[in-house]
Amino acid sequence: MMSRTGRRLVAALFLSVSPTVRLAAQDSQFSVRGLGVPGRWESVRARTTGGAFGPFDPRSSVADVSLVDALQLTATAVEATTYRRAEIGGSRDDLRSSRFPFMSLAGPLSRRFVVGGGFATYLDRTYSIVTRDSQMLRGAYAPYSDRVGSDGAVADLRVAAAARLASWIAIGTGAHVLSGSSRQTAQRIYDDTTFLGTTQTAMVRYDGFGISGSVALDPVRSVRIVGYARSDNRLRTRLGDTETDRVDLPTTLGAALRWSPSPSARVAGAVAWRSWSDAGGFNTTSWSAGAEVGAGPTPFRLGVRGGQLPFGPGTAAPTEFGVTLGTGKGFSGNRALVDLGLERLVRKGGGLTETAWTVLVGLTIRP
């Protein structure tokens, strides 16, 4: 017989892999070309350390082995509201959006074996572009506005497990179903109303599959080293029953180091490489460093991150740099945790500079 906790976990896992909310992590003008902007598989706690704590955080899904630290049933959700500014060619546009990019669930089946799952944004496919132009129609130029938009994302639905093999080593593995859709719109409105406006819409669906594995080593009590890898096979794009596109997806390799000099202070650094050239983009290397201070229910976190984006114009990958800080608050004997964060992000590439403030709210429940 499955234990009560096990039954709860299975039920919760089932529910969590059927997301109904909008998944996009963070909209970006860099998602217009290529497959989109990769999402973050991090809880608010990990994200406010620049992502450096991601491979160690049982509430994040960066490295499956981190589940091994989920010693009780834990559910986490993230809400992100982004205020974004895109500047290019002397023009400036202020944009904003709210998203629910991440949810995870984890719990132990035994003292040494933990399972978990959830969903995260794999690729964000949300944008809306308006252009002005004119066309010679019936002997005169007819000005018009075109709006081409996409609203959706590719979600990463994960089921993972981790096991502690010994006091100094743990392993984890996961399976990832990539699934999602975007509602795409192409609209043309002529200034001359004798020409009727046209609106075309289509629901484009995506699917793919991936596997991941990771290992955590604790050579000394205060240090943990995590190595992880992930391979996604391909992203298939369907319009109705017709396959319109198929691209290979990248392999991800990453490593991270965490040092806990005292019970109330932790620092970590991480680096990851992804072979996005398989998908027609640029290979990317991203890094992050962060710290968490305070062992109680109200820690303080900060971090910094940098790296590249896989898709953009020109011959060089767009770059990304971000600074984060955050805190958290426990309630009801730490059965409920609220994490708050603020992220400042700068993305540059192809003449476009995109800056964003993102307010992060995370909710963790340990029933």
């Binding site: 909209d27 003008q29 217009v32 070309r33 290529g34 497959l35 509201t81 290019i88 023009s91 546009d93 202020d94 944009l95 904003r96 959006s97 709210s98 944008y127 809306s128 572009i129 308006v130 252009t131 002005r132 066309q135 010679m136 129609l137 019936r138 018009y144 075109d146 709006r147 081409v148 938009g149 996409s150 795409q184 192409a186 609209q187 043309r188 002529y190 004798t194 020409f195 009727l196 406006g197 046209t198 609106t199 075309q200 289509a202 484009v204 794009t237 369907r238 319009l239 017709t242 319109t244 596109d245 691209v247 027609g280 114009p313 020109g314 708050l340 003449g351 476009l352 307010v359 709210v361």
Partner: protein, 423 residues
């Protein structure tokens, strides 16, 4: 302080959405783009034909009276209902008294359309034989239209110019409905010109001719439009208590129509290969479209203009300008094709008198094309017709599809299908 902080947090994390930004192409635009196409489909109408007889004069909603020398001479005719041989003399008991004589009559007609530039617009009333029916032609009634047979005439402009629009001397009056611009003309007839004939039970038949300094063309309301002529008899009825008492009775018409003489050879009603619309009896033309599959299935229509070249222009006065309608059909049964009640399958334009041969008439029919795209089982057939039918004499004819150089064409502006699903 904590509440303020919570409120601020709620405000900045509240659901919000504005992701629309100007595009900077091609670097930050999708790989696919919206492509607009503007093209003229010259051979899209592949079978067409004209038919006549959809509305005959006695079915029309107007009684056309026109006097355009050298073009057309048309006169309204109508037969009134009988009033019988007696009238109610005591309303309390309902007792009736024999009609022993008629003092006068008032004949009321409604002008529903006229040319406002026609001066000295005059109605001339004729007494006609009582055997009016739908077979009567202008020639059949030729004997009744002589000048000596006219009962009287009424100058509408003159009466309207009088105080109160009433001619106190002759008993005529004119009323103008400023909302509908209809003109009601009431003419007084004496018993000598329109006697009560017992044997006819008070039936009377009249004809109305119109004359004016120029542009004498009007439409009178008909029974079909609910605006038929009315005749009021002012009679003397026999009474038990007195010798006679004056009583009146108003009757409508049993039959109304108009007869006409087409004087101009250019208004010949014989159909040929051209696409005739309007005229009398009313003609329609059926046009069948062979749309390319691209247009039918894959594109979005921004504008579609049916371009028709005039083969024979309509003749008449400016007020005879009419609405030309391209009307979708429910099923293609040629001349008997039932018209679609769906307003999205109707496109109209105004045809003005003065259009010349070779001029183009354009009908915007994007909605019709869009409806054909939605309903792929709908016949791609249009009926060209006058709206409303039977209220105008002018007839326009267009070049048919067999005239390759001047055939009906469809000028279409559309947007190709967007390449969704491409990165």
């Amino acid at each position: 302080m904590r509440r303020v902080a919570l409120a601020a947090l709620a405000a900045v994390t509240a659901c919000t959405e504005d992701v629309t930004a100007p595009g900077h192409c091609p670097d930050f635009c999708p790989s696919g783009s919206i492509t607009g196409v503007d093209t003229v489909l010259q051979t899209v109408v592949q079978r067409d034909s004209a038919f006549r007889g959809f509305v005959r004069p006695h079915e029309a909603s107007s009684l056309l009276a026109t006097n355009l020398p050298g073009v057309i001479d048309s006169r309204a005719i109508f037969l009134t209902l009988p009033i019988g041989d007696s009238l109610v003399v005591e309303s309390g008991t309902g007792a009736r008294g024999q009609i022993v004589g008629v003092d006068s009559l008032k004949l009321s007609v409604t002008i529903t359309r006229r040319d406002t530039s026609a001066h000295n617009l005059t109605l001339v009333y004729y007494r006609l034989p009582l055997d009016l029916d739908s077979t009567k032609t202008f020639a059949d009634l030729a004997g009744a239209w002589t000048g000596t047979d006219s009962l009287r005439s009424l100058n509408v402009d003159s009466v309207y110019a009088l105080a109160g629009h009433v001619d106190l001397l002759r008993g005529d009056s004119v009323f103008v409905d400023t909302l509908t611009n209809r003109v009601t003309v009431i003419a007084k007839l004496d018993s000598a010109s329109a006697p009560y004939v017992v044997a006819d039970s008070g039936k009377a038949a009249f004809g109305v001719k119109v004359v004016a300094d120029s542009r004498a063309s009007i439409a009178l309301g008909s029974v079909e439009a609910g605006l038929g002529p009315l005749l009021t008899w002012f009679a003397e009825a026999d009474s038990v208590a007195k010798d006679t008492v004056p009583r009146s009775s108003t009757v409508g018409v049993r039959f109304d129509s108009f007869v006409f003489d087409l004087l101009s050879p250019s208004v010949d009603t014989t159909l040929d290969s051209t696409l005739a619309v309007g005229g009398m009896p009313v003609a329609r033309s059926i046009m069948r479209f062979a749309l390319p599959r691209l247009i039918r299935d894959s594109v979005q229509i921004s504008r579609a203009t049916l371009v028709l070249v005039t083969a024979r222009p309509p003749e008449g006065v400016p007020a005879d300008s009419f609405t030309l309608s391209a009307h979708g059909v429910l099923a293609d049964f040629s001349a008997k094709s039932p018209l679609s009640p769906d307003p999205s399958r109707v496109a109209t334009t105004r045809v003005h008198i003065g259009i010349a041969r070779g001029d183009t008439v354009r009908i915007e029919m994007a909605d019709i094309l869009r409806s054909w795209q939605v309903d792929t089982l709908a016949p791609t057939t249009l009926a060209l017709r006058q709206v409303p039918e039977g209220t105008e004499f002018p007839e326009i004819r267009f070049e048919p599809s067999t005239n390759v150089a001047l055939a009906p064409a469809l000028h279409v502006t559309y947007v190709r299908r967007f390449p969704f699903g491409k990165p």
